[in-house]
């Protein structure tokens, strides 16, 4: 038998953070076959968090970006074939992908890490003065434009819009943020926390225009017009849409992303999906969830890869997000779903704070400003849903870093009494 017939091929479609992590994880977890990583961006796989921050504010062009997932030699060393190409069709019956330039490729396993794209504002396509921000090329184009612009309209007060607004203010531009809701990040943050972030931006000179009924961005020869006000440029950040068309055309189940089970398996045999594009069952009740985050791109991709490599792991994340705006690093643990019975805050010096939301006796949601270490210290209590006495959380003489040990020793003490 010809040797090549024996060799398995894993095809990873989408060469972003998730794709590159999946490729690496396949190799490190013992996948011996070919690993082909196909992406339609000309750059090697990179992480996107710096695009709205470092890339826009770094002084020098030369070192404004260092978000590569792996050093480029890593692909060769791990025998990962990275192809700059586009997959046109996927036939999940015959297990063949058709690539635009490299023809047909037969796979044994496939991981879809196709990510997402910026949601388009109707009537406002990308133009000389109208920008969307998703790729490194988008960010570099925007960086160049910020060097000469005086004023910018940001459409959308979500994480991306706010990070961009902070970067643009840091560069000294006049910044106005337009939002259809009556506040910023109303779905992601409790109102009292969102309010602090709004004040932070306003202190830095950002102007917010909320409750905008009908957002319209009109291109002119030398700028854009938003709500009858002229700006040098407009940046539209109204969310992301999953790239699930390839999967849909291949007959796979899609619904706001590519539907996967807890093991990252799609409805097609031997095809997995992970990252921004995947819609997975989350939590005890398996609620269909799609997460757009660094953590999800990282960890879900690794779980998919390990399952292909022969393990049987369920993806059960405790969602964790961060956003960097001005000198604030805001971290969020858990999803803002469901009612919170009680918020307990531990405020520190400057703006430092940890806010813990309790639901049914366990910490369900944590928000922190410049207190990542403190948030980390109670992560396992959140992950495992360990019951915590709210008085301990509120007691300033108990360090959060000691809480985990303390809570567990109290619990084991309880058991001792019961026995």
């Amino acid at each position: 038998m010809h040797a090549q017939i024996m060799t398995r091929t894993a095809l990873i479609i989408g060469a972003g953070q998730a794709g590159a992590r999946a490729a690496e994880a396949l190799r490190t977890h013992g996948y011996e076959g070919r690993i082909v990583l196909v992406g339609d961006e000309r750059h090697a796989p990179y992480e996107r968090p710096p695009l709205s921050k470092d890339v826009l504010i770094a002084k020098d062009d030369d070192d404004c970006f260092n978000g590569w997932v792996h050093a480029v030699e890593r692909y060769g060393d791990a025998r990962i074939e990275w192809l700059n190409d586009r997959v046109l069709r996927l036939d999940t019956q015959s297990c063949v992908a058709t690539l635009e330039r490299n023809g047909e490729l037969r796979y044994d396993h496939c991981i879809l890490t196709t990510g997402g794209r910026a949601r388009q504002l109707p009537g406002a396509p990308e133009g000389p003065h109208t920008f969307y921000l998703r790729t490194l090329d988008d960010a570099m184009r925007l960086r160049a434009r910020l060097a000469t612009a005086q004023s910018v309209a940001v459409i959308g007060a979500g994480f991306l819009g706010l990070e961009f607004a902070a970067s643009a203010r840091t560069r000294g531009l006049d910044v106005s943020v337009f939002e259809t809701a009556s506040g910023l990040l109303s779905r992601a943050l409790p109102p009292m926390f969102a309010e602090r972030l709004r004040m932070k931006h306003e202190t830095h000179g950002v102007r917010f225009i909320f409750d905008v009924k009908h957002l319209q961005v009109t291109e002119h020869a030398d700028g854009v017009q938003v709500d009858a006000t002229p700006f040098d440029l407009g940046v539209i950040a109204i969310g992301q849409e999953p790239n699930d068309e390839l999967a849909k055309a291949a007959g796979m189940a899609t619904n706001n992303g590519i539907v996967v089970d807890r093991h990252c398996r799609t409805s097609a045999e031997n095809v997995y999906a992970a990252g921004d594009c995947a819609n997975f069952p989350y939590g005890a009740n398996g609620r269909a969830t799609r997460l757009e985050s660094w953590q999800n791109a990282q960890e879900q991709a690794i779980v998919a890869a390990r399952n292909i490599a022969g393990e049987e792991i369920a993806y059960a994340p405790t969602p964790w997000f961060w956003t960097d705006q001005y000198d604030w690093n805001i971290q969020m643990l858990g999803l803002p779903d469901g009612e919170i019975d009680q918020w307990i805050e531990r405020a520190g010096v400057d703006d430092k704070t940890v806010l813990m939301g309790l639901r049914g006796g366990v910490i369900a949601h944590v928000l922190a400003i410049n207190q990542g270490g403190e948030l980390r210290a109670i992560r396992r209590l959140v992950e495992e849903g360990v019951a915590v006495d709210p008085r301990m959380l509120a007691d300033p003489t108990i360090k959060l870093r000691q809480l985990d040990k303390l809570v567990r020793s109290t619990h084991s003490g309880d058991q001792g009494v019961l026995v």
Binding site: R21, W294, W320, D324, N329, G372, G373, R401
Partner: protein, 101 residues
Amino acid sequence: MALKFAAKLADLVEDEPLGLTIGEERIALYLLDGEVHATHNVCTHQFALLSDGYMEDGCIECPLHQGRFDIRTGAALCAPVTQPIRVYGVQVEGGEIYVDL
């Protein structure tokens, strides 16, 4: 290279990093299984003080993005950090910690 006074041993608590500045250098000290270790205190990924981070199982985790370093060797252990953190020699004499800078 010279030994510089850093802190009193009594000020260092197991599993709680201590950040300090010696001259121009930002240093983090750690008490790990009764042994003192020292690393540079600024994460190699982005500006953050590791002493604000979380220490567990011989590792220090950056407070910004949870990148992790081996406290003994400085090795970068998980994304997003890829560059190791600098480690320094440490001497403890008479209850005082000296770092080799």
